[in-house]
Symmetry: C2
Subunit: 292 residues, 2 copies
């Protein structure tokens, strides 16, 4: 059994810690409630993670908790050993959530925990609606590291996903007849210029600059871009947690920049349920196995 | 009269643009509704910005719109010429919001627009509850620029606030007997290690490293740290929009890392209303002036 690792000598204080962005005070009673957690599924949007939690509750027939977060920064739901948490958009917001969640699971003495990011992204050279299971992550400088700035110094932390978990999720997806690819995920801090879009408020490059860059990414086996993966992979690796990323793609960026959800909302709803379907099928099988 | 500037030759398409993170399709009728906007107030939390909008609606006796955002990414309220929008936590989330809001105000042909970030922060060498009006912003490397990564290249963009607006807001604050400081704001991408806290899941530095760093910041006239200012200053400057940042401080980081909101929620509620009070007093006077 492997406990969630933290690495901070200052945390052993006598007073219960307070997770300020969840509004949770880490008393023994509260932490005990999280002791059985084995899986944490996360996504940017709070509405989407609530939808996922409710759907899983119905499909797996496991009780659904109320929203366990006491602030409006994040939401958190629990269905037995599975937590559902949103992380907002971008690395800073994800990083706050992961720091506080990892402390919570550490205090709770949870063991053998797996984190899965179930997100949305822009595809590169894949049909819209394809689910990408990340085989690796790259930052904006095309390096597989999270860059952290600590007291004016630049620190690079390895961003590594769990290869076995990725392979397993990919096999589950294939069995469901969902359009699926395995590929590298690039994470950026900026959605418009950072992802070479032509439809932000500012754009100082040409269409051919953009196309050349996206083709270069494709040749490097990058299959989608989003805004959190490299931080997710780095922090889970650092905490000794198995991590995987499964994202829907809403557009093929080789063809277009904008997902016109206003013109076809039902299609995008179907797309965003696909990575959930992969993950929920996997979870239900794993939980059944544990029962037997 | 000065229009909101965008800088993107690709935006003049025949089809109405779609602001995907607000869920707003930019038809002529919809944009017309935003033509009279003169001020945009923003904050991270959606609950707080809703509270600010409702309080302003009552105090200024101006009608309050419903939530104009059609997604759960952001909320947006309108009270006459004042918009209230949340931006989530961190630069990536703020940057998406600003790109789409600036496009909206550009299509709406809004003129002479002022943006004010009304936020929360950790203070440096100031009493908890002090309001800091930012005189400037620094990034994590202590430079007054936003670092953007575009197609693998590092681009540094000046991050400049409107000096006159900051001075004016500071004078309004002083007249209200609210504890107030003018000082530099440092913006980081990471809340825990990025701000030299000792209470994250990871910490590889000593208490004295931390103290030395925070004292160095104090000597550079930094009075608070948050996670958006340098992007706010850069994008508003780039779009020709007057920008100012007014933040409550919840702790003095020279003394502590954690704001224990669980132990004194009312005090923190009072703190978070202080920067709003400064800004709402300013807005009401400006709007009255425009009437006469």
């Amino acid at each position: 059994m492997s406990r969630v690792k933290i690495s901070n000598p200052f945390l052993d204080s006598n007073e219960p810690d307070f997770l300020s962005h969840f509004g949770i005070t880490c008393t023994k009673e509260i932490c005990q409630y999280f002791n059985d957690v084995k899986f944490v599924c996360m996504s940017g949007s709070h509405g989407r993670i609530q939808l996922y939690a409710e759907t899983f509750h119905r499909e797996a027939r496991i009780c659904l908790s109320e929203n366990l977060s006491k602030t409006d920064r994040y939401v958190m739901y629990k269905t037995g050993p599975v937590l559902w948490v949103n992380h907002g958009m971008g690395i800073p917001s994800l990083s706050i959530m992961l720091n506080e969640l990892i402390k919570l699971l550490y205090y709770a003495e949870a063991t053998d925990v797996t984190f899965i990011r179930v997100g949305t992204s822009g595809g590169i050279g894949v049909e819209p609606g394809t689910v990408v299971v990340s085989s690796g992550v790259l930052n904006e400088l095309l390096e597989p590291v999270l860059i952290l700035h600590v007291m004016g110094e630049v620190i690079k932390l390895d961003a590594i996903l769990d290869k076995n978990l990725c392979d397993e999720l990919y096999e589950f997806g294939k069995s469901l007849c969902i359009p699926l690819e395995k590929g590298i995920t690039m994470s950026t801090d900026d959605f418009y210029e950072g992802q070479a879009r032509l439809n932000g408020a500012f754009c100082n490059y040409t269409k051919s600059d953009k196309n050349n860059f996206l083709k270069k990414l494709y040749s490097m086996r990058v299959r989608n871009m989003e805004m959190e993966g490299v931080c997710f992979a780095s922090i889970t690796h650092r905490a000794g947690i198995r991590g995987a990323i499964v994202c829907a793609t809403f557009v093929d960026r080789l063809n277009e920049d904008l997902a016109r959800k206003d013109q076809a909302p039902n299609i995008f709803h179907e797309y965003e349920m696909r990575p959930f379907k992969v993950v929920s099928t996997y979870l239900i099988e794993k939980l059944e196995c544990n029962k037997n």
